[in-house]
């Protein structure tokens, strides 16, 4: 196995799938950048390779018919990708910051998500929408959100929120091979984390949670950047003899309900950490699942660690207070232990 960053793992997954299947195309703004000027100077240059550097080198390798730079026109990007998906391509469209979904939500919400059902099962829509989520960079209210809850409430969409280089590669390849529309959320705080990643192609199935820590006293359920904070808390409290299990569902639609309920039934104490929202978020969805399906196992009230019901603030001290912190997670675990 090689050591790769989360960013490199994304690029590797894209490159391998593009090699594997000529129907895979990338669509988005500045995926390359340089191809997008018509002056001779720019013609043969890949200037950006994506704002995140994620797609760097892919245009050089696969050319303009596979790596398609677009104008700033998200509805046409997602709509075109959806239309291409039902007619035979396997497009991977990049939204850059997931926050931008607002300008093209219909193409996911009313179109791609519903084709198969509305058409009586006679359509396949193998579409991936990639984008960044997450706060922490003072990118302010319109570039820091994690709206995976809004995607996952929509029947017909699948939603992936990976936390490690290993997971992101396997889940992205799975997403591209999947015949349903997938919203693929990359957390910006994780792009530079490193981990072991097989060089060959592999998939990770949807709906299978990963237990990043095993434990018997408390279950923490967390996603993306929050998994790492939960792990840190588990490691710290282990020294005090508090045994914390950390469950990373990795995909929230489908959700590994069984995996979550099994952990909860063994610990009876639950903390859910979620960066999406103070209301109607992932924490609430999972809390509701547990309160309806595993109620009799619960020994204490469920504790949710979420941001407050406010937009993401710009100023660093406010933003740090907004993001669920290691301290708040630790306090939540102590709280459920005491209840």
């Amino acid at each position: 196995m090689a050591i790769r960053t989360y960013r490199e793992a994304v690029r590797e997954a894209l490159a391998q799938e593009m090699e594997h299947d000529p129907r895979v195309v990338l669509i988005g703004e500045d995926l390359c950048g340089g191809q997008a000027g018509s002056s001779p100077l720019e013609k043969n240059k890949e200037a950006l390779g994506g704002v995140l550097g994620v797609t760097k080198g892919l245009w050089t390798q696969f050319g303009s018919s596979r790596v398609i730079d677009t104008p700033i026109t998200e509805s046409a990007i997602v709509g075109m990708a959806a239309g291409a998906a039902v007619t035979g391509l396997r497009p991977v469209a990049e939204l850059m910051f997931m926050d931008f979904f607002g300008v093209c939500h219909d193409m996911l919400y009313n179109q791609a998500a519903k084709f198969r059902y509305m058409f009586g099962g006679r359509a396949k829509t193998p579409l991936v929408i990639r984008g960044m989520i997450g706060a922490g960079y003072s990118a302010a209210a319109q570039h820091s959100q994690s709206p995976y809850n809004i995607f996952a409430t929509t029947p017909g969409l699948k939603v992936v929120v990976p936390s490690t280089p290993y997971d992101i590669k396997g889940l992205l390849i799975q997403s591209i091979r999947d015949d349903d529309p997938v919203v693929f959320c990359e957390h910006k705080a994780l792009y530079d984390i490193k981990g072991e990643v097989p060089e060959e192609s592999y998939t990770i199935p949807f709906g299978v949670a990963n237990y990043t820590r095993e434990g018997t006293d408390v279950t923490i359920i967390a996603l993306a950047a929050m998994v790492h904070k939960a792990n840190a808390v588990a490691d710290k409290l282990a020294k005090e003899g508090i045994s914390v299990e950390v469950v990373d569902p990795r995909t929230i639609s489908p959700l590994d309900e069984e995996g979550i309920l099994e952990s909860v039934s063994s610990t009876g104490r639950v903390v859910i950490v979620d960066e999406s929202a103070a209301r109607f978020g992932f924490a609430h969805d999972v809390a509701a699942l547990i309160a309806s399906q595993a109620f009799h196992f619960l020994k204490a009230p469920i504790v949710m660690v979420t941001p407050p019901h406010t937009p993401v603030p710009f100023s660093p001290p406010l933003e740090q207070a907004w993001i669920p912190s290691v301290d708040r997670i630790e306090a939540a675990v102590r709280q459920v232990m005491e209840a």
Binding site: R23, V25, S65, R66, I68, T70, P71, T73, S75, A76, I77, V78, G79, M80, A81, A82, G83, A84, A85, V86, T87, G88, L89, P91, D106, M107, N110, Q111, F115, R116, Y117, M118, F119, G120, G121, R122, A123, K124, P155, G156, K158, D178, D179, D180
Partner: protein, 320 residues
């Protein structure tokens, strides 16, 4: 029969199928057996057929809430359509879509669409597939005069120019969007005129004249197939019925519909244009065949059963 004549009769048959289908729905709708909203296409037949006579199953169209005509012109099965509109399991979408979501991908029909302006972004996707896989296919979107103001449409037009996609943007100007005049809602009062601003050629044609539509679209499709990129066509025709069935049409002038039926009937116009070449009896024979087909479709749709309740939970994902 000469090939040309065969083609002409085929076009006539398609237009007649649309007309008979829609007028029958207008009647059947009053019985209360048809669920949901119905938007009828009578009066605009020459547009759908003028376009689709150029297309094969490799070519895709994307449609609107007023989609029956486009479906029929693109070759969707009339029985399956009628059953769908009645909400029956035998429907093209197994009763799950209804009038506003009829689709048949095997025929290159990407779906009616209940979101105004929804089709153009999807259609450029079909065009991208055609271009990427080199199928030689084109994508055609239908959009109303009202829908022509939706941002989605403009984005699709610009994208199609930038990527030189084989797309034809057909604008069906039938005078109204719901009860709102196109002369109010289209700031420039010229839908075709917008295309130049996006860098594509466009023409405005009489949408009640099959030949005018057919010729203009033929030119655009040829260009698209040859790699010449997208075009726009504004076709002017008239909606005979209300926006939806049940619309009291208070926005109509007195006698407007009667006048349209008398003077702007695409089928009458077609027959008059071909009066010298094709005998009335030949047209009438088609009319009778179509009448029988639609009779049968209605009878069958009425007799067919609703989908079983278990179907509620299928077709959400490929896995269930």
């Amino acid at each position: 029969m000469s090939q040309d004549k065969q083609k002409l009769l085929h076009a006539y048959r398609k237009m007649r199928e649309i007309r008979t289908f829609e007028e029958r729905l207008h009647k059947e709708n009053t019985t209360g057996e048809i669920p949901g909203f119905i938007h009828l296409y009578s009066g605009e037949e020459a547009i759908a057929v003028g376009v689709c006579e150029h297309l094969s199953d490799q070519d895709y169209i994307g449609s609107t809430h007023r989609g029956h005509g486009h479906c029929i012109a693109k070759g969707c099965d009339i029985r399956g359509m009628m059953a769908e509109i009645f909400g029956k399991e035998t429907g093209l979408c197994r009763g799950k879509g209804g009038s506003m979501h009829i689709a048949d991908l095997s025929k290159g029909m990407l779906g009616a669409n209940a979101i105004v302006g929804g089709a153009p972004p999807l259609v450029i996707g079909a065009s991208l597939t055609a271009k990427t896989l080199g199928t030689g296919g084109v994508g055609v979107s239908f959009t109303g005069d009202g829908g022509s103001n939706q941002g989605l449409v403009f984005e699709a037009m610009n994208m199609a120019v930038v990527l030189k996609l084989p797309t034809i943007f057909v604008f069906e100007n039938n005078g109204y969007g719901e009860g709102t005049g196109h002369d109010y809602a289209v700031g420039s009062r010229d839908i075709a005129g917008r295309a130049a601003g996006f860098g594509m050629p466009s023409v405005k044609v009489d949408g009640t004249d099959f030949f005018a539509v057919h010729e203009a679209v033929g030119e655009a499709i040829r260009r698209a197939r040859e790699g010449g990129g997208p075009s726009a066509i504004e076709a002017i025709a008239y909606r005979w019925h209300g926006h939806f069935e049940g619309d009291p049409m208070l926005y109509r002038a007195d006698g407007e519909v009667e006048r349209l039926r008398a003077e702007k009937d695409p089928l009458k116009i077609f027959r008059a244009q071909l009066g010298k070449q094709i005998a009335d009896a030949e047209f009438d024979a088609i009319d009778a065949e179509v009448e029988a087909l639609v009779d049968e479709a209605v009878a069958k749709a009425r007799a067919d059963s609703y989908p079983p309740v278990e179907n509620l939970l299928t077709d959400v994902y490929v896995s269930y």
